[in-house]
């Protein structure tokens, strides 16, 4: 075997002459998107075919672009192996949580009032969370670097995680209280028709068709999620605790660990972009002028459901949490 003996190749040649040896994270993530800004077009077909035009318009053509995205790093530095290891351990913890509260038949202890709030507020949540799962995948498939794509794809999986725990507990409560709680219509009808839910559905449906990759990222991770996660992970946690539903409160706190990772990689990406081109702050803030108020209005419209709980969270309190969520991430990202 005529293997060429040249100086020890410490890393991929595409990573260039690096002083320190790249991490396993970089070795399996760096420069996988050879198609970004590829000449004559991203995909090896007719350069004018519809898909090439879509990517050239919505990715390469997005105003949210810098000279080189490959310097960006997800602060959590998640590889696939790291992600499933992390979530395996967290899911073991949540499995234990479920065991503990099922052992004491916690769902059966729900008051009639809290069961109504559970049915009206928590059960339909799986629909908007599913939309966030879809939107995260779009950001992932359009992102200009595999460092960003992987973070967005893991975020989509986190949304499925949150959704499936809500779905599981919905069935447990239905078995304990009222079988109708587990019917699809019980979740879909409010989502499609109930007044409190329409601003949120309108915001999420219109966000789904914001196809510029930068706008899709900003709308989702800087506009909608900070407000929506404040509503679900923080306000609903407080509401549950006030109504002695410690299980839901702990579940919401667990969801926020995933949301915190999303905030971290989002903040890091915006800071990375602004360091290379400060004028991008106007681009991002321009999109936020559209999406931040819509997300706040959507959350505020949900206030009535929080106020109908036996021990309520006031609508103003909910709105303030959502605005604080947006302010916090905008500040951390250097946008404020």
């Amino acid at each position: 075997m005529t293997t060429m003996r040249r100086r020890k190749a410490r890393t991929w040649s595409l990573l260039g002459e690096v002083k320190r040896k790249p991490s396993a994270y970089e070795a399996v993530t760096a420069k996988f998107h050879y198609h970004f800004r590829r000449d004559p077009a991203p995909w090896e077909l007719d350069p004018e075919m519809a898909f090439n035009r879509w990517y050239l318009e919505h990715r390469e053509g997005s105003p949210f672009n810098v000279d080189d995205w490959e310097g960006y790093r997800d602060p959590a530095k998640l590889t696939y192996k790291d992600y499933v290891t992390l979530q395996h351990e967290r899911e073991l913890y949540v499995d234990g949580l479920v065991d503990r509260f099922e052992a004491v038949d916690h769902a059966a202890s729900y008051s009639e009032g809290w069961t109504d709030t559970f049915k009206a507020l928590i059960v339909p949540l799986r629909f908007p969370v599913h939309v966030l799962q879809m939107a995260s995948l779009y950001v992932g498939q359009m992102a200009p670097s595999s460092f960003i794509t992987n973070a967005a794809h893991f975020q989509a999986a986190d949304e499925m995680r949150r959704l499936q725990r809500i779905a599981y507990w919905t069935q447990v409560v239905a078995n304990a209280k009222d079988g109708a709680i587990a019917r699809t219509e019980t979740a879909r009808d409010p989502w499609e028709r109930a007044e409190a839910w329409q601003p949120l559905r309108e915001t999420l449906e219109t966000m789904l068709v914001a196809y510029d990759w930068g706008e899709a990222f900003v709308a989702l991770n800087l506009g909608v999620k900070p407000a929506f996660d404040a509503m679900v992970n923080v306000a609903l946690r407080d509401l549950a605790r006030r109504n002695e539903d410690e299980f839901m409160a702990l579940l919401c706190e667990e969801f926020d660990r995933d949301a915190a990772r999303s905030r971290a990689w989002t903040t890091a990406l915006v800071r990375y972009a602004l360091e290379r081109d400060p004028t991008l702050a106007d681009v991002v803030n321009g999109w936020l002028d559209t999406w931040a108020p819509k997300a706040i209005a959507a959350v505020e419209a949900m206030g009535v459901l929080f106020e109908q709980a036996p021990e309520p969270v006031a609508g103003e309190e909910l709105g303030e949490m959502a605005r604080e969520g947006q302010r916090e991430i905008a500040g951390a990202a250097g946008l404020a």
Binding site: M1, T2, M4, R6, A9, R10, W12, S13, L14, A24, A27, V28, Y34, P42, W43, E44, L45, D46, P47, E48, M49, F51, W54, Y80, K81, Y83, V84, T85, E91, V94, D95, V98, D99, R126, F127, H130, Q133, M134, L137, Y138, G140, Q141, T149, N150, H153, A156, M160, Q164, A167, Y168, Q171, A182, A187, R188, E192, R201, E205, T206, L208, V209
Partner: protein
Amino acid sequence: MPALRRSEWYDLARDLNWNLSYVTEDEAFPEVMSNNYGITPNEKWWAWDEPYKVSYREYVHNQYGKDASVYSVNSVIARSRMFEELDPGWKSAIVAHYGAIAVPEYLAGLGESRMGRFGRAAAWRNMALFGTLDETRHGQIQTYFPYTLLDKEPRMDWAHKALHTNEWGAIAARHLFDDMFTANDAVSTAIQLTFTFETGFTNLQFLGMAADAMEVGDLDFGALISSIQTDESRHAQQGEPTVRILVENGYADVAQRLVDHMFWRSWHVFALLTGLSMDYYTPLEHRSHSFKEFMQEWIVKQFLDQFRDFGLEPSWYWESHFLPELDWYHHALHLGVWFWRPTVWWNPDAGVSPAEREWLEEKYPGWNDTFGVYWDTIGDNIRRGEETKTLPETFPMVCNMCQIPVVTPAGFRAGKLESPEPHIHIHEGRQYVFCSEPCKWIFQLNPSRFAGHTSVVDRFLGGEIQPPTIPGALEWMGLSPEEMGQDATNYAWAYEGLEAPGAAAS
């Protein structure tokens, strides 16, 4: 363990289909991203039902276990001399595999993500999310393993950089995989990536390769491939319910055309990669089947069952073009890859020692009278010390569809084609060259998808490759002198069975 079994709550995680009202269905599921082929409204897709169900918590628990074990195998082996002692031909097979498959698997994650966003049923979108994670795993694991071998084999660098280059095999891989999933709408991807390519080919190829790897003693690659294969069956299942919906809504012809288009394309790249490794690179003593036997017992059988189960027909070319190619096509590609070896990033193993030729003759009666003659001529030149006569001075013609060299003359020589000539097609004033009727047919199905693309030869004739010479082309393809393929056994095959080198100069 939570009290409720998955089946008791699972539907609440996938009954997430709703009627859009603030945006239209066409805005949220545009045809370019999700071709419904006339099956509308979306409600008609909501019956999409995956046979193989899995929840998020099961997924992370299972996948954690798989990665933990397969990475530990890698870390143990990395410290051993196992790789150095592998057969040179087998080493070439895995260097070729990593370069051609690793990053494309990661790309399949973009195809899965496409279905995860633009699939027209929530159950489908959920399965596609798992597919996105699976393919991210496959891309990362199949770059990490070669990464750990860089010090022992610098050509493992191609596992990472192949698709950044214009090496002709990388162009063929990009063209195939972009057509199949990266630049394909969600509905077509479900049928062409998962139903046709994965269920039909890779699911079985991984099984075959894992067994071969264990045979050859490559525990590292064997553990890797068998671990990957267990994911394949899960996300490959997305094709079945998608085909079912097309057939049930009266669009079996659409499903048929999509399958026929991608089966042929998959077959040609499969013959290039797997045909060579099974019949020429895998050490003789470890070959449990010939490529043709593998194709007949696994791929052909699998597809005929699938066609029957889904109310489809065997592709129109099945008898007339596909089955005959089993006898000669990959033999010609092997010759081409070996003769043009400087243009590939692995060391082609000629695989034509006397014992190997005997095996080839037994598995492919008449092999010596056709392909054997080429190797005799080449072997004579080697034995006469005329190595330069065994290296290319011009380009082969390349098919404007599969981007693989046109070897119709070999088909004619083997008595399987009526003419040695390629298939010419004029479209809007430009001449296109195809290696086969089906490749031409695929182009004609949807010319605007392919017409503006230029093959390596088109780019050479267009002046894109400067200087317009073989050395100029090799540099343009991104191959350094050390990486250019060389005969895997330093021509040992040309001397085996002779008393002393050069003794039998004719």
